[in-house]
Subunit: 253 residues, 2 copies
């Protein structure tokens, strides 16, 4: 069996095009929808099961006809990672389980009016759980809200989704080093900066993590227009097996 | 000069089609986009000035190219009335003033990260203010959050936008009766019910308000699939000068 991951979004909180921005990246995204970046999220498909990872994509109902989504897995409750749930919650039909970090604040009134979503499944650091045959291990990330990355394991293959995240905690780095990762999807919000941000990675730190963890493949997500601008000007800056993520791109392992 | 009001949305919080709903109303809305209802909101245009009234429409950037929106006027901070601001706030360019009730909670982190929006303009009951030549009088509504309706006046003509709202307060009813209203846009969420809801109108109460205030024209908005179902089964139930609102419909006075 394969794990098939498809990006619904690979953008930073500002996504692309940034409203009102005249930069070449945003003008390119306006002109060619292939270059648009929705808020970072994706769908993992395993043996007919569909798991939405984060929900910042605004028009989820267009991607997921009723009954086609088995569960939602949230990294954290920032608006650009959950905003798609607000309109969808008022739907009808079977309840959709949501796995999320144990953040009692949630986002606005999601917990008060969950609608078709069931937010009772809380993910805990390093407490592996199984959903429809898929093993999922939450790994705590460094961010401005309680945030969890996830390592998915199936038939001895591992996919790590680490977003939103600044530098990796030591215990998470060790976990990833000792559990060989076939495909890592990593937050990289900014081009190389003098001072790397606390809540996201710049490209320098993403390259360090690639070197330290040594996944077979690494794909960058949560990409800002600043980083895309850097890639436009440095088209060959990435080493082998390190890739720029794009919306609608699929990776299978 | 005329006031030109266009509905961007005329739907209840569930909008239409309701995700996963098989009812004739939702199936019609799925098949024919003319019958879709986005969350209740609209745009008022006066002499080239564009004022967005509520912001529950998800893809505002598609309706308003950069620079085309002069201000936002909010009735209240429920998600289905503000969710379009979250992605747009990260834009660039000139600040867009937002007029809103003085609700310190706002919605999620909108006040913490306002981006291109300026939320400093607070509307107070019956305290008329003028924006680009347009006179605006806030009228307090009965709802589960601090909510304001607005009466717009231009060249002796008046347009009242009253949503979300249950029964009218006595002082608001008196104000509307003594300031002849040419066009009233009114929350009507439900078909006639045994017990009218507290936070919205059912059709029975909307008809009472029409009788009591006597606007020249009244248009219903915040319409649920339940009410649309009633209209399908009772096509001639509305008196003269009382109309069903539809998305993209324009009214000029």
């Amino acid at each position: 069996m394969t794990m098939k991951f498809t990006f619904l979004g690979t953008g930073s909180v500002k996504a692309a095009p940034v409203y009102g921005c005249d930069c070449p990246v945003c003008q390119r995204a306006l002109a060619n929808t292939d270059y648009r970046r929705h808020p970072a999220c994706g769908v993992l498909e395993v043996n007919g099961m569909r798991l939405l990872i984060d929900a910042g994509y605004l028009n989820l109902e267009q991607k997921f006809p009723p009954g086609s989504l088995d569960a939602v897995l949230l990294t954290h409750f920032h608006m650009d990672h959950v905003q798609g749930l607000f309109p969808m919650r008022w739907g009808m039909g079977k309840t959709i389980p949501v796995f999320s970090p144990d953040d009692p604040a949630g986002c606005d009134d999601l917990f008060k009016y969950p609608g078709i979503f069931d937010f009772s499944q809380k993910t805990q650091p390093f407490e592996t759980f199984v959903f429809q045959g898929l093993s999922i291990t939450p790994v705590p990330l460094v961010h401005s809200k309680l945030t969890m990355g996830y390592v998915f394991e199936l038939d001895g293959k591992r996919l790590a989704y680490l977003c939103d995240s600044g530098t990796l905690r030591r215990d998470v780095e060790t976990y990833l080093q000792t559990h060989s990762i076939d495909l890592m999807i990593l937050d990289c919000d900014q081009p190389p900066l003098e001072n790397a941000p606390r809540n996201h990675n710049d490209l320098t730190r993403a390259l360090q993590i690639f070197d330290q963890v040594k996944p077979s493949q690494l794909v960058l997500t949560h990409i800002s227009h600043n980083l895309d601008d850097y890639f436009m000007r440095h088209p060959d800056c990435l080493p082998e097996n390190l890739h720029i993520g794009y919306d609608n791109q699929t990776w299978s392992i």
